[in-house]
Point group: C2
């Protein structure tokens, strides 16, 4: 297989080889075209049972077999920027074979599993929609699913959705919500040799940081899964000059909240944590979470097919499952790779994860 001039993907090849081939088609957000072309070509060539649609750099493939239930499986094609970690390499570490490189974990392993099964699963017990999409690793407004939900909401219709985000081939249900708030303290500028005529804005943040440092985060157990909330200052910035007491300083807080909490409740909670302090607080970004989505027939069927030993946990980070949840479609995360390795310079995926995810999903689609 050559990935050089006109990359070609062979979905019938070994899952590790297929993952490497997908990884080696560089597709940092905004540069997904070559990979989308290769995925589209592979589906058109090898999966005659699928209707294949192309929407910019997103490829949608689906069956229309008139079955009572539709399962949607979605994976993004893009990655965060490279860290001098392409093309991929293989290594054996602690007796474990790994594929190393940008995208191996987040989430081209999942894309490879989905592409292989899209071709293979021509007689699944449900109708299937496969979505390989662009621009996930960037602002939500640029995410292809935002565009498709606007322009072609029918493409996203399903009874259950599986997102191929890395979960070490376990099931991670739902996801927490996220909210960013800019917190600004104001004072009075003055020369730093005469601070008594001013009021240092930076010092006003002392109780904010103190409350954040002492914050005891809630652990919400929903459908048996534990969502650990987090409230943090993710940035802080202030200062005018080395000899000036600044009259303004801002911190950005990020609140990650359990999916039983609405955006309104999340904002009210942060305001309560900061109650009584003289601050301006503005929500600058927010996205609700997703409930686990395990209490429906399709999800139960999925868990049964994976077997009782499959690790089952809450998804802590926000993922696109929240979009499906918002559309009324229960959704889970399931894919090869350790989510803690996503975006790291040493991003890699164990080959055993690829095999496990492939085998589990294959059982579900053959059930």
């Amino acid at each position: 297989m050559s990935n050089q001039a006109a990359p070609v993907l062979d979905p019938r090849s070994d899952i590790a080889d297929l993952t490497a081939a997908i990884v080696d088609i560089e597709s940092v957000s905004g540069n997904e075209k070559a990979l989308a072309d290769a995925v589209e070509a592979a589906l058109r060539e090898h999966a005659p049972h699928l209707e294949v649609l192309r929407d910019r750099d997103t490829v949608i493939a689906r069956t229309h077999r008139g079955l009572p239930q539709r399962v949607l499986l979605a994976g993004h094609l893009d990655t965060v920027p490279l860290a001098d970690n392409l093309p991929s390499t293989r290594r054996t570490r602690d007796g474990r074979e790994e594929l190393v490189g940008r995208g191996t974990c987040d989430m081209k392993g999942g894309v490879a599993v989905f592409l292989k099964l899209a071709v293979e699963a021509d007689s699944a017990p449900s109708d299937l929609t496969w979505i390989f999409y662009d621009h996930e690793e960037v602002a939500a407004a640029d995410n292809a699913l935002t565009r498709i939900a606007d322009e072609h909401p029918e493409y996203l219709e399903a009874d259950f959705a599986i997102l191929g985000e890395p979960t070490s081939a376990g099931v991670e249900g739902g996801c927490k919500g996220t909210m960013k708030l800019e917190v600004t303290a104001r004072g009075i500028a003055a020369h730093s040799a005469r601070d008594w005529v001013g009021d240092n804005a930076i010092h006003h943040l002392a109780p904010v940081l103190e409350r954040l440092a002492a914050y005891e985060a809630r652990r919400a157990v929903i459908d048996g899964l534990e969502y650990r909330e987090c409230l943090n200052a993710v940035s802080i910035c202030g200062g005018i000059a080395g000899n000036v007491i600044p009259d303004r300083v801002s911190a950005v807080l990020n609140y990650r909240f359990a999916p039983d909490t609405s955006l309104e409740q999340a904002e009210a909670h942060v305001r309560e944590v900061l109650a009584g302090l003289d601050l301006e607080i503005e929500v600058t970004d927010a996205a609700g979470g997703a409930l686990p989505g395990l209490d429906n027939d399709a999800a139960r069927g999925f868990l049964a097919a994976l077997g009782q030993d499959v690790p089952l946990a809450a998804k802590q980070g926000w993922t696109d499952v929240a979009r499906f949840s918002a559309l009324g479609t229960p959704a889970v995360n399931f894919g090869p790779g350790d989510p803690l390795l996503a975006h790291t310079d040493d991003e890699h995926v164990p080959l055993a994860d690829l095999e496990a995810a492939l085998a589990g999903l294959r059982r579900f689609l053959a059930a």
Copy 2:
């Protein structure tokens, strides 16, 4: 008088006109040449009793009359950047005539008084050294006095020094020292949805800001003058991305300390304030203060000439008097203009201040 093509200064003109002419020769730090040329030309033309030296954009003029005592009078020619406040204007406010514009206060009023008296005072009771220098409003390393102290320390020899910095025509003795310290807290980076695997560096600054906010600054009374110390965070900066717990955050503290405190003592004091906290603390900049310098014959003579009603206070901001103090030369600040107006957009000087400073210094040099 024309300040357009080849600006000319006439030291015999009215002090307000002379100040305006000096102000209108723009001389933001690095651009002092035209003003230095005009000052040098005026001295060469109008003060045959002076030896005039030129060192880059610094002009030194001195008498050699063999008198037992030498008084040095120094003023910087440069200003901070403009705020659309040149050329200068005159206004009357609350019945008070003012000259408005960049440099009127800091410190071209003082330069005008010095230039006028340099020409006039050809028979003072002391030998005199007048220094009009460049690059005061920038890093200490670029200050012309740093260069001259290195290359021509003999130019700075004197028994008493008067710096023409704005003091509202009162005497401000000595100055506080200043020290900048970079305080860094370290943690462990993590995804902001999984903060329990990380350690938020920003939150580590909570006790730092708390201690600064609660800090009770010392007021040191030295020779009857009160130096109010100040300890502030003047900047703070940290953050990697909106979804990352940062592993590092830094704040810059500025400690302004009374002139009875050495650099070593100042650093030890800040370290004591922050004792017990897990921080890296690095001194990034420091300059010692200057004792009031009023307990010598020349200073006593100066105060006597000004009269018992002259306001006498501690200089809170660091000034070049500290350099003279370090050279063993007692030094005071004395000049027209309110020091709180220095560097402000509404920088101005009352004409009465110009007259008062001129009259007081004239009495001293005639004594």
